[in-house]
């Protein structure tokens, strides 16, 4: 038991370390000092309150969307459309945030968050979830297609569409102060969304391990046939799991919109929904693991520019490291077998 639990933690950690090792080799080949590069990266990510806040700012949407993806993995589903659900959440939160007037903060802000959450949830559950449950249409295909629709819908809305703010920039009007998530660390972009993300992780853990619904999700995810034989309504579990997953991705979009961007715009920070898949995988679909993996990706993102400035290593190296992490997660069988062999040798010695 303890050894399998230790392996469960050790394998992703080793994946990350190996990725950094390979990344270091690439730094050497490109004629730079890998140690300096990684020191710069670390400092850029954690070296000051400001840097740490930057890291966590990027981590927050990854945490929330990553929890969502992990939840569907637990149900045996592969929701790769978190990106689309994130955009729907952003759209809904932004609209409620700027278009609804005259509400006090304690009504307006929760309402905007709720709108984003619900929009993401319905985007995942109504079409991909229902199709999967009753026709067996594969959620990988449907969630991906729904993502394209959502992304292009967002573009349309702010590029000449009904949500475009006056002027020439493709963006929505700014959300009202009553719908803005306040900063957690003044002077940084880090908002109270971090608290929401941690609470969401606690909630996901609680749902999975303490509720009958979570029990159904885990059982159906591991063996849908046995779940059906045991009397569980697997179609209902699929739709609800997609709902929860989409809700978390939608909340990620809402938090980003209300806490960081303060409006909907066609931003370079898109892609959280895709990175969230890797975050879920690296976190082994465990809520705490997802939080840790999201912080790692936040750190890579936040530290990359420091690395470029201080060590002269192109920030794109971070992409290489990220790619390597994905690679080593995919081949974690190799790491497992190496672990097994070293343990055996240790036992014999």
């Amino acid at each position: 038991m303890t050894s399998t639990r230790a392996t469960a933690v050790l394998v992703p950690v080793l994946s990350v370390l190996l990725s950094f090792l390979v990344g270091g080799v690439i730094v050497v080949i490109s004629g730079h000092d890998p140690l300096a590069a990684y020191v710069a990266l670390l400092q850029g990510a954690f070296g000051s309150v400001f840097n740490l806040a930057n890291t966590l700012t990027v981590a927050v949407p990854l945490m929330l969307a990553g929890l969502g993806v992990a939840f569907t993995f637990r149900a045996g589903l592969f929701n790769i459309g978190a990106e689309g659900q994130y955009w729907l959440g952003s759209i809904a939160a932004a609209w409620v945030g700027y278009a609804v007037h005259g509400l006090p903060v304690w009504v307006h802000l929760p309402l905007a968050l709720l709108a984003g959450t619900l929009a993401g949830a319905l985007w995942a559950a109504l079409i991909p979830g229902v199709l999967k449950a009753w026709t067996g249409a594969h959620e990988v295909i449907t969630t991906m297609m729904m993502s394209y629709i959502a992304i292009n819908l967002a573009r349309y809305l702010i590029e000449g569409g009904p949500m475009m703010a006056p002027g020439y920039t493709p963006q929505s009007p700014a959300v009202l102060p009553t719908a803005t998530l306040p900063a957690l660390v003044p002077g940084t972009q880090l908002s109270w969304g971090l608290v929401l993300a941690v609470l969401a992780a606690v909630a996901v853990w609680f749902v999975l391990y303490r509720t009958t619904f979570g029990f159904e999700v885990r059982a159906a995810g591991l063996n849908g046939r046995a779940a059906r034989y045991a009397g569980m309504n697997v179609a209902r579990i699929i739709v609800l799991a997609m709902f929860v997953s989409g809700a978390l991705a939608g909340l990620a979009g809402a938090v980003q919109t209300l806490g960081v961007n303060h409006r909907l715009f066609d931003a370079f920070n898109a892609g959280y929904g895709y990175t969230a898949i890797v975050v879920a995988l690296l976190g082994k679909n465990n809520p705490w693991g997802v939080l840790a993996a999201a912080v790692l990706f936040g750190a890579l993102n936040a530290g990359a520019s420091a690395m470029q400035m201080q060590a002269g290593v192109p920030a794109h190296l971070v992409d290489v490291v990220q790619g390597m992490i994905i690679f080593f997660i995919a081949v974690d069988g190799i790491i497992r077998s190496v672990l097994r062999r070293t343990r055996k040798e240790a036992a014999q010695a």
């Binding site: 303490r210 885990r218 063996n223 046995a226 034989y229 009397g231 097994r340 055996k344």
Partner: protein, 523 residues
């Protein structure tokens, strides 16, 4: 009799287990040597070493007195050792002749010399008395005949040592008897046979010598004539075992399950059901016998709420429950042990405690308002694990780490502890060893004696004959006969299973059985 094959001190280790521990074994020319043991005793491993699939970590193999080392199955075949696996390795869309010569085809230029292949096969089957039509498609043959093709395949490659791995697992009693006849003839003509089995009566019937394996070791080798099933069972398990659980008097009560005119068209790869009517009463075990694929499993799944019937009604204690869901049936007191415990009965990666709660996790006392009472769940699991003798008695163990027998005990504990009115048990002892079978049988009988109705579907005729108070026989989706236990003999039920009518006299059975069995085609 001289020794053709001798194994000396064979040891094979896998990570965490010693599968074979200094095993000595010898095979004499023209003998049938049974290798008997429970699942995991190491009998398959040792045979895979003999047939070149594994290489031993220690020890030597002597073939005709000379040490040999096989780098793969191909070399073992060249040396004259042929293995017939439990699951056939045949290509259904090719003919018998094509399958037999596959890999060593007689060629004319680049093309297969069909005429010579056919001729070779004809000669081979005449020489060994294994009749078969070389031009039939393998997919059209009965399981018994497919096995014959596998045996011929081995001979075509020059085998004079034959390893049969659980060869009767898929056969009807008649087909098994025919196989034993062939085995004896082959032995007489000088072929030496290793016969792997965990069925005592088969071993007693056909083997010259019996080697018993337990926990990777060979614990005894005895002439079959000088041993008894009881002694063999004790050697296998390491303690004395009751081979036939005592069945108390049959005191049937009110009908619990009443099925009338049940029908379902064949679809989705599932066999058809036609006009099935029967009753199962309180305090009785109703056995459902039949060759695999004749609708038993479909019938069982309709009754468990997993398949919807097209016609007919299912009544439970007088209430029409046709088409109700598994959950609704569970709440009305129907328990179900599915035939495939790993794919259908358990969620292998959940804990034992969670698997024990797989059916009633949602209601009191385990849950209230959607929240699971983790403490209650663990407490109940601790009690059930002890009551049903699950080993290790650790509710937090992941189900996958348990042996097959203990996995089945978890399912049995879950289903029986719900105090069902009706227990549907589909092949509850498939793949289990003697000790675990005894446990399951005792529990089924105890449930029956406590007044529940039990529907037992099994491919093991002996199991049905020893447990059931009444026996229904399925053939091609129909319930062709229902017999009382005291009028059901092995021969009679075996014949009914192959589609012979109930009126056929039991005495004429044996002669007709072989022919009858061959006509059965399975999907």
């Amino acid at each position: 009799m001289d020794v053709v094959l001798e194994l000396k001190g064979i040891t094979k280790r896998f990570p965490g287990v010693v599968a074979n521990d200094r095993v000595d074994l010898d095979l004499r020319r023209g003998e049938i040597h049974a290798v008997l043991g429970e699942n995991g005793a190491g009998k398959s491993t040792i045979m895979k070493i003999v047939s070149g699939l594994y290489s031993p970590d220690e020890g030597t193999i002597l073939l005709e007195g000379r040490p040999v080392r096989f780098a793969g199955p191909r070399e073992a075949i060249t040396a004259g050792i042929g293995m017939v696996h439990q699951h056939f390795m045949l290509i259904p869309v090719m003919t018998v002749a094509e399958n037999i010569v596959l890999g060593r085809e007689p060629a004319r230029g680049l093309a297969l010399d069909v005429r010579r292949a056919r001729e070779d096969v004809r000669q081979l089957s005449a020489r060994y008395g294994l009749e078969i039509d070389p031009d039939r498609l393998v997919g059209e043959l009965s399981v018994g005949l497919q096995q014959r093709v596998e045996i011929l395949k081995a001979f075509y490659r020059g085998a004079n040592i034959l390893i049969l791995d659980e060869p009767t697992a898929m056969l009807t009693p008649q087909e098994a008897r025919e196989l034993f006849r062939i085995m004896r003839e082959l032995a007489r003509s000088g072929v030496s046979i290793f016969f792997i089995s965990h069925k005592l009566d088969e071993v007693m019937e056909v083997a010259d010598r019996v080697s018993v394996m337990r926990q990777g070791r060979r614990v005894a080798t005895l002439p079959a004539a000088e041993t008894s099933p009881e002694q063999l069972a004790e050697l296998m398990v390491g303690r004395s075992v009751l081979l036939r659980v005592e069945r108390g008097e049959h005191r049937p009560g009110e009908p619990v399950l009443a099925v009338e005119g049940l029908g379902r068209a064949a679809r989705g790869g599932r066999a058809a059901l036609a006009d099935i009517s029967f009753e199962v009463r309180a305090g009785e075990i109703f056995g459902l016998a039949g060759v695999e694929g004749n609708g038993q499993q479909e019938l069982v799944e309709v009754l468990a709420g997993l398949l919807k019937p097209d016609r007919g009604t299912v009544r439970l204690g007088g209430v029409d429950v046709t088409g109700r869901s598994p959950r609704q049936l569970f709440e009305m007191g129907v328990a179900y042990i599915p035939p495939d415990r790993q794919a259908e009965g358990l969620v292998l990666d959940l804990t034992v405690a969670e698997n024990l709660a797989l059916k009633d996790y949602y209601r009191a006392p385990l849950a209230r308002r959607g929240l699971i009472d983790v403490k209650r769940l663990a407490e109940r699991a601790r009690a059930l694990v002890v009551e049903y003798d699950v080993r290790p008695a650790n509710p937090a163990a992941v189900a996958r780490t348990l042996s097959g027998g203990n996995q089945q005990k978890v399912i049995l504990g879950r289903e029986v502890s719900s105090s069902p009115r009706l227990l549907i048990a589909a092949q509850p002892t498939r793949g289990l060893d003697v000790g675990a079978i005894e446990f399951v049988h005792r529990r089924l009988l105890a449930l029956r004696d406590s007044g529940a109705a039990v529907l037992l579907s099994s491919l093991e005729l002996d199991e049905i004959l020893s447990l059931a108070d009444r026996i229904g026989v399925m053939y091609k989706g129909r319930l062709v006969a229902v017999l009382d236990a005291d009028e059901a003999t092995r021969e009679r039920v075996g014949l009914l299973m192959t589609g012979a009518t109930a009126a056929a006299p039991a005495g004429a059975g044996t002669a007709a059985a072989g022919a009858g069995a061959e006509e059965v085609r399975r999907p």
